[in-house]
């Protein structure tokens, strides 16, 4: 069992936070959406998309943040390099993303075969992104979950190094970068090109783009941990 895998094992000892909690949150969101839909007495037969599935994605981001931050002091105390600790944490994210993605794809299949749980609710089907075959749903949701976990981990490391102020600055800088990008696009009247790019991009293509982004975020997190002290 290599050092990296042992770090992943270490994270999995506290299974509740990392494995069970996201699903509890999702179950709660699911129940809530069912209640809302039923009490709204929606017309049967037509698909009713609801947004509750976003909860698990948000929570995986939080899990990434919490894991990278809280478990770091003891992690380094175990006598591992920061590189190994980081890789072990990312590996955790990848495993969780793949497993959770598969579960989401499975639930989507059940949803389809029961006509939206008998009430035409599209909880696990999301237009454009999660609307294709099960393997594409698996791939896309895994990549997005992985991306969010890694992104959260990066935030967690920033918090550890520079505390709340650093976190605020970090968030602000990113918002500024995105805003600047949007301004640049507007300046160049390039919104139609951007729109064109996205509409011609299939769900699979988008998944590829997101995977590249995830790798970029992972590199950012790694740069952050290299000089971290506990």
């Amino acid at each position: 069992m290599t050092t990296v895998m042992n770090v992943t094992r270490y994270h999995l000892v506290d299974r509740i936070t990392v494995v069970a909690l996201p699903w509890c949150i999702l179950a709660a969101a699911f129940a809530l959406d069912v209640v809302i839909l039923v009490s709204a007495a929606a017309t049967p037969g037509t698909p009713h998309p609801v947004g509750g599935i976003a909860s698990i994605f948000v929570f995986v981001f939080a899990a990434g943040l919490a894991t990278a931050n809280r478990s770091l002091p003891f992690g380094l105390a175990l006598g591992v390099s920061r590189r190994s600790y980081y890789l072990g944490t990312i590996l955790l994210g990848v495993i969780l993303a793949a497993a959770d993605g598969l579960a989401l794809a499975g639930l989507q299949a059940v949803e389809r075969s029961t006509d939206g749980w008998g009430i035409s609710m599209h909880f696990f089907q999301v237009p454009y992104i999660l609307s294709g075959p099960w393997y594409l749903t698996w791939l896309t949701s895994s990549v997005v979950l992985g991306l969010l976990f890694v992104y959260g981990a990066w935030f967690g490391l920033v918090f550890r190094r520079w505390n709340l102020i650093g976190l605020a600055v970090f968030g602000t800088v990113q918002a500024a970068v995105v805003t600047a990008g949007a301004l640049a696009v507007t300046w160049n009247h390039a919104w139609t090109s951007v729109g064109h790019f996205f509409t011609t991009l299939s769900a699979a293509g988008l998944t590829g783009v997101l995977a590249a982004v995830a790798i970029g975020l992972a590199a950012g997190g790694f740069a952050m941990i290299r000089r971290a002290t506990v």
Binding site: T3, D14, R70, F74, A77, G79, V80, R227, T229
Partner: protein, 298 residues
Amino acid sequence: MTPTISVAGLTRRYRGQVALDDVTFDIEGPSITGLLGRNGMGKTTLMRIIAAQEFPTAGLVRVLGASPAENDAILRRMVFVREDQAFPDLKVGQILQVASWFHPNWSGELAEALLADFGLPLNRKVKKLSRGMRSAVGIIIGLAARAEVTLFDEPYAGLDAEARQVFYDRLLADYAEHPRTVLLSTHLIDEAAGLLERVVVMDRGRVMLDAAADDIRGSAVTVSGPAAAVTEFTAGRVIWDRRMIGGQESVVVAGAMDGPDRARARELGLSLAPLSLQQLVVHAAGRGPADLRERTSA
């Protein structure tokens, strides 16, 4: 032979403060070395850098022949127990289990015995334990790991004298069976004095003394009695400290006392008390290494 721990020109500056100033020494193993000095004098910073938890501003660290920073192969052979270690939200048993994965020499047997010695409950979350019990968890990890290079930085916060003695006894017993290189940082010097083969004394980020414990033992004496007799007896000797009250005087003198010295002291009605290791270290920290090595010919 390559020293087990080698530190050269190590300096650590931050926010305008100098925590370590050109620290240089070697430690050969197996041995138990004491890193001594008052709090805030650089001991913790030094140990954190050796354990690669912090980075130096300048200088070199070598452990087992290589730099430990970001070096899994070396880090695996080390264990660092620090004061007030932060633990994740796990139970005692889980923490020890995790620690066992990362230390190739881990002894489950020893861990069990130590759990009983300290009376730790396996199923309680570490965060819910008292400060002393948390320290005990750290100590158990440090000892059961049987790491080739074992670093203890004042690991006994919250432990009473009896529990500390358990720590010293278990350390000695396991060290006798499984020798390793131990660096123990402490300000409770007299308690640990018997364990130490070597002492490195730090003050204000500098090494003030680096010597074998036995070499400095007995190297200074407190002479007390009637002022006139004390003055006569201590004439021509190096004096470190002098205190007077009424007609009595108490003088700390560098140098060992031999048989004739003792006899003369008795004649003059003076009492001689050798300085304890703790007292010697206090003096060393305030002075320089040269003072401590001055001896009258024995």
